[in-house]
Symmetry: C2
Amino acid sequence: MVTRATRQLDLTFLALADPTRRAILERLAQGEARVTDVAQPFAMSLNAVSKHIRILERAGLVCRRRIGREHMLSLDLAPLARPADWIATQRAFWTTRLAALDRLLEQRNPGSGTARHPVNRSLQKSERSP
Amino acid sequence: MVTRATRQLDLTFLALADPTRRAILERLAQGEARVTDVAQPFAMSLNAVSKHIRILERAGLVCRRRIGREHMLSLDLAPLARPADWIATQRAFWTTRLAALDRLLEQRNPGSGTARHPVNRSLQKSERSP
DNA sequence: GTATTATTCAACCAAAAGGTTGAAGAATAA
DNA sequence: TTATTCTTCAACCTTTTGGTTGAATAATAC
């Protein structure tokens, strides 16, 4: 069963899995730009950037409007809602479960901080803002 | 400049860009499981699932603990913090900018709701970069 | 008109993803 | 010991990524 929603998640996550494409999105957050403008900062051919843009369009994150020979690109970050939801849901489930595990460990081994699940410790450690 | 943080974002987004791997994460949210258990629901070979697991491990989302011949897999969703942050930041910038644009349009064209954000790209032309 | 600019299309390449099968390793069961 | 179980390793295959170059297309500038 390969639903459309699933496919959309695939395409969006995949579109975000490349630094050039993320940089393009960040650039377009400042306003519309032509393909040439978007490609200018990158040390690669215009064609390569053009392909990245197509992948972003496929995910619905970038829209194109032709004005004469120029193609104006603009951002549509609405498709990010679903990946954001998926991540938030997973993290919510996970942290809930870890909290339950901690309660269980505390019950069996009261007052000792050392019995904390290692994964829980890693959570507390790496969820600080960089 | 290919920083470690950037590479980590790449690997995490890529790990999430496949329905099988997302299903594996959802399965592991219910608790530890062996490779065979994780592979059981999927209509593909055990080897294929094993490869998916390696990609999840590469992103740091899955940890492995060997007990004899069994490999117990567990979840670590801490690495999801950065992708979540990236998405949230982008969306925040974007919606802020759309709101500012709406204020501008309202100023120029008071009382008219017809030019609101998803459709107002034609008016963003004036914001072209040099 | 011709030349220049903006962009894609087409072909090619190397590397990675996503899958298969068959064998090997290592721990358990008989 | 021998057989079975759990898992990876090693090839191999096909498709997709991510990049290149060279041409084609289309609009603007001269």
